[in-house]
């Protein structure tokens, strides 16, 4: 269990479910994980933490983010129980 699965020394944590797709799933070597982070963690901070954990090759600037199955802004707040997906450049069509 890595250091981000349990938030260090704060009473208030939130549980976030993260799904991985495409190259991020390859790099994380999983399609889904549940992480426990500090209450005020931003989407940017969450990506930073997971990026360190999994050594993601893409900087955040190249990604979009979705919360609860809708595209979100990186500045949107997340809450306990939210589902978060980092979206690498898409390639449909």
């Amino acid at each position: 269990m890595s250091n981000i699965d349990v938030a260090p020394n704060t009473e208030a944590t939130m549980t976030i479910n993260v799904l991985y797709f495409a190259s991020l799933a390859d790099e994380a070597n999983c399609q889904e994980e549940t992480v426990s982070v500090e209450q005020s963690t931003s989407l940017t901070e969450l990506y930073e933490q997971l990026s360190q954990k999994h050594r993601f090759s893409r900087p955040q600037a190249e990604l979009r983010v979705a919360v609860n199955d809708y595209f979100a802004k990186w500045t949107d707040q997340i809450y306990d129980g939210d589902s978060v997906v980092f979206i690498t450049p898409v390639a449909g069509g």
């Binding site: 979705a66 199955d69 595209f71 690498t88 390639a91 069509g93």
Partner: protein, 163 residues
């Protein structure tokens, strides 16, 4: 590169009939089997429409100079459905069209298979052309679908629409 890290994105959660019902209601769905174009066209029949424009995106046997053997599409279905519904709603606001339907296929595809289908009906021809192209461009830009191409030498590559 184990298959199981992508298994959730290679097939849809819903049944095929549900996917077509969603496409008919919201204008967009993902499908993990061959797209039945006739079924989609039937839902677009409307006696007030003089114009029907459709686009089929098929798997090419090459990408630039490289020979492609096959490819796999992966989709984030729940976001794709939400975003697809918004795209079709927006298309109906932007263009004088009566109805539009699009389907993107995911999973393993062979050369010649249809990966994406967009159909639009309208009273007059130009809005149908404009809307079909706009919907396709917007799907390519915004729908969370990813593509991995496999080449002769069994090498594969993640592709991206924006370079």
């Amino acid at each position: 590169m184990t298959d199981n890290v992508h298994s959730h994105s290679m097939s849809i959660k819903r049944s095929i009939d549900e996917a077509y019902l969603i496409a008919e209601r919201d204008g967009f769905a993902l499908l993990d089997v061959a797209i039945d174009e006739g079924r989609l066209k039937n839902t677009l029949d409307d006696d007030s429409c003089g114009a029907f424009v459709c686009f089929e995106g098929r798997v090419r046997n090459h990408n630039n100079a490289t020979s492609v053997e096959r490819l796999t599409y992966y989709g984030y279905e729940d976001l794709a459905l939400n975003q697809g519904r918004a795209i079709i709603e927006e298309a109906k606001k932007r263009f004088e069209i009566t109805h539009a339907i699009a389907i993107h296929r995911i999973g393993a595809l062979e050369i010649g298979d249809v990966a994406v289908w967009v159909g639009v009906v309208s009273a007059h021809r130009y809005p149908a052309f404009d809307a079909c192209r706009w919907i396709l461009d917007t799907i390519k830009a915004d729908i969370p679908v990813w593509k991995q191409e496999y080449y002769d030498n069994d090498v594969s590559k993640w592709l991206s629409n924006n370079g």
